[in-house]
């Protein structure tokens, strides 16, 4: 087997093997180190002897022996004591247990997304251990210097060990709340790829792909959690529009003007039944509702066939269950589309009065858009200027400038 193929095989097998090793060794750093050593052995042996039937099990066994060797060599008394405990622990697990269990990865997710860790550390650790991304790749995805990202990971792992963050799936009573934290991490990874908060690139597709991978993994492990299903549906449906969101010149194309033939039919075909499944089970949650909204767009054959009343209704439910100023903004915009711009403007000025979205460029942009639809060009232009004062992203700035130019044109 050629080396590049082996490398991609390692990438596939790594999270599975690592999750089991963390369980067996109860030490992140040790697990990562010995797994790396096992890869080195595999790189040497597999091309000559062939790839073992279950590569993950082979890697776990080999890595475990490396761990035992390493613990035997430990010198100080403190290490010796730890060694004795760890060795007896390892010895009590027969080799048949080197089989990776699906639960191991679930345990790992809950450990990586433990609320006692900073959110950015949760994200980094999840990408490192569950997606198998290198420190360099994660640093690039979040546009932080590599040493900063490395330091973040070291600190997170030190806290897991030092404060003894457990390596377990939370009990039923806590599962919902803890799962919410895990989903938030996955969604954060996705949005960072979909609309990066830093850097020049308007999107980072590879980051979105990792988030979808994580959501798929979660759905495999927790198939009966409606919010997991809802999240997978949401990221698939959002991602399906990736190719249409920017034109050939790299300029932003709004949903209304997107070429629907560019939407990814496979992702939509996978996502829509998931929306149904998520909504069927229990009360619609945060992600299921957003997925349902994305589904309304995905189902419409053209921009004029979008069921805006349905979307406005879904936002109203979302606003009632998960109130936030941004949801209120979306609800106002959707209501404007469904029931006339005046209705949207009334909701927007109510939101404006709360002051909660002061300085958020999309508030002014939404207002400008509704005024434009009413033909109130002068007021629309003023609102576009307000939005331009606050906007950060270059593509959004150029979009708003184009709109402002249109609104300012006499006609």
């Amino acid at each position: 087997m050629p080396v590049p193929l082996l490398t991609s095989l390692f990438r596939e097998e790594r999270p599975r093997a690592l999750a089991t090793l963390v369980r067996l060794l109860r030490d992140f750093d040790l697990a990562e180190d010995v797994l790396q050593e096992a890869f080195a052995v595999a790189l040497e042996q597999w091309p000559r002897q062939g790839v073992p039937g279950n590569p993950a099990s082979w890697l776990i066994s080999t890595a475990r022996h490396k761990a035992i060797d390493r613990l035997r060599r430990a010198r100080s008394l403190a290490d010796k004591q730890a060694e004795i405990a760890a060795l007896s622990e390892l010895a009590s697990h027969p080799m048949v247990e080197d089989v990776p269990l699906p639960d191991d990865r679930l345990r790992l997710i809950f450990t990586c997304c433990h609320p006692a860790l900073a959110l950015e550390a949760q994200v980094a650790l999840t990408l490192k251990t569950l997606c198998g991304l290198s420190v360099e790749e994660i640093a690039r995805a979040f546009l932080v210097p590599e040493p900063t990202m490395a330091q973040r990971l070291v600190r997170a792992k030190a806290k897991i060990k030092g404060a003894r963050i457990p390596y377990q799936v939370p009990e039923l009573g806590e599962l919902a709340e803890r799962l919410h934290g895990v989903l938030r991490v996955v969604y954060l990874v996705f949005t960072e790829g979909y609309a990066p908060t830093t850097g020049e690139a308007p999107t980072r597709p590879e980051v979105c792909t990792e988030a979808i991978r994580l959501a798929r993994l979660l759905r495999t492990l927790l198939p009966n959690e409606p919010e997991v299903t809802g999240l997978l549906a949401l990221v698939l449906l959002q991602d399906s529009r990736r190719a249409a969101r920017f034109d050939a010149a790299g300029e932003l194309v709004t949903l209304e003007d997107q070429e629907r033939e560019l939407w990814d039919r496979e992702e939509i075909a996978e996502g829509l039944p998931l929306v149904e499944a998520a909504l069927r089970r229990g009360s619609a949650g945060f992600y299921a509702l957003q997925a349902a909204i994305a589904g309304c767009h995905a189902r419409a054959k053209g921009a004029d066939e979008v069921d805006w009343a349905e979307i406005a209704g879904l936002y109203a439910v979302l606003l009632a269950r998960h109130p936030s100023p941004v949801v209120a903004l979306n609800h106002a915009a959707a209501s404007g589309m469904a029931f006339g711009p005046e209705r949207g403007l009334a909701l927007l000025s109510a939101l404006e009065r709360t002051g909660e979205l002061a300085g958020y460029h999309l508030l002014a942009a939404a207002k400008a858009d509704l005024l434009r639809r009413l033909g109130r060009s002068g007021e629309a232009a003023a609102a576009y200027r307000d939005a331009l004062r606050e906007v950060r992203s270059p593509v959004e700035r150029r979009y708003l400038e184009r709109r402002l130019a249109e609104a300012s044109r006499p006609g």
Binding site: L77, A78, Q81, H114, A116, G162, A163, R164, I165, P166, P170
Partner: protein
């Protein structure tokens, strides 16, 4: 001030609860089976040191108590029934074997009085002459032994013991739970509210003691009594304070044992002041073994 009084009052109340018709004295002794550790620092043992081990013998008809097993102070006492009475024989490190007898009681305190013995003359020799056991809860006892010399009381040896926390698989971790609160918030409460908060602290302390998580806890005097000490170039410098800008001050702490951070967080989330102030959960650094 406030938490200290909670803890003390909590202790007093613990001592007086359970005075009701219940198990016989011997049943209480049988219930001691297991290992007991010192609940506080004392001359014989530091808090948390194993002090006593109880096990049953003779088909459950006698309870053997081993104190300070494996040390030069090791002593054994055997408790068993004699009709309705409870009797003990104490194999003392002073080389004699006093016997004591307790009359039946349904209370939580069992009092033993001298009832003869071997290798001793009660009018002259130093010997243990009386003993009381107070069963505070299923996991907490106080004992007092009265020593006689020359036919008169000489000293009393008291012990406060708690049942050793069961090993929940893997060694437990220690966490310090630091309670930060606005000192003004207490005075802002009505008397009824203060009473309610006190009740909550009492319930909380009692519960973590019962579950074996409790290792210690105190309240601190107000920040106005604090002094900050530094040594620079060999010179000791003290300053009044700190008078930090933050509204929340360190007001007290609990030291607990938990199997992992999740359990420690769950305990912290039940400290009454968590609703007004905040709790910092700090894992205790494991003590490295001394070479």
């Amino acid at each position: 001030m406030r938490m200290r009084s909670f803890l003390l009052w909590g202790g007093v109340l613990l001592a007086t609860t359970g005075a009701q018709a219940g198990p016989t004295a011997f049943q209480r002794f049988r219930g001691l089976e297991g290992t007991w550790v010192a609940a506080e620092d004392g001359p014989m043992a530091k808090k948390g040191d194993p002090v006593a081990r109880y096990h049953l013998t003779g088909g459950g008809t006698a309870v053997v108590e081993e104190l300070f097993a494996g040390t030069p102070h090791a002593m054994t006492t055997v408790y068993h029934r004699d009709g309705d009475d409870l009797v003990l024989t104490h194999y003392c490190m002073s080389g004699n074997q006093p016997r004591m007898r307790a009359k039946p009681t349904e209370g939580t305190t069992v009092s033993f009085a001298f009832d003869g013995g071997t290798n001793l003359d009660p009018a002259k020799d130093e010997h243990m002459h009386a003993a009381t056991f107070t069963f505070l809860s299923a996991d907490e006892i106080r004992t007092a032994w009265l020593e006689h010399a020359g036919g008169k009381p000489k000293t009393t040896v008291s012990m406060h013991l708690v049942r050793q926390k069961e090993d929940k698989g893997g060694s437990a971790m220690k966490y310090l739970l630091l309670i930060y609160q606005d000192e003004g918030s207490w005075t802002g409460l009505s008397e009824a509210e203060q009473g309610k908060l006190f009740e909550e602290y009492m319930t909380f302390s009692r519960d973590i003691k019962k579950k074996g998580n409790y290792l210690g806890g105190e309240a601190l005097q107000p920040i106005a009594t604090a002094t900050t000490v530094r040594v620079r170039n060999g010179k000791t410098m003290t300053t009044d304070g700190p008078f930090a800008e933050t509204r929340e001050q360190l007001g007290g702490y609990f030291l607990v044992e938990a199997k992992d951070l999740d359990e420690a967080i769950a305990i912290a989330a039940r400290i009454p002041d968590v609703r007004m102030g905040s709790i910092e959960v700090r894992p205790i650094m494991p003590t490295p073994p001394v070479d």
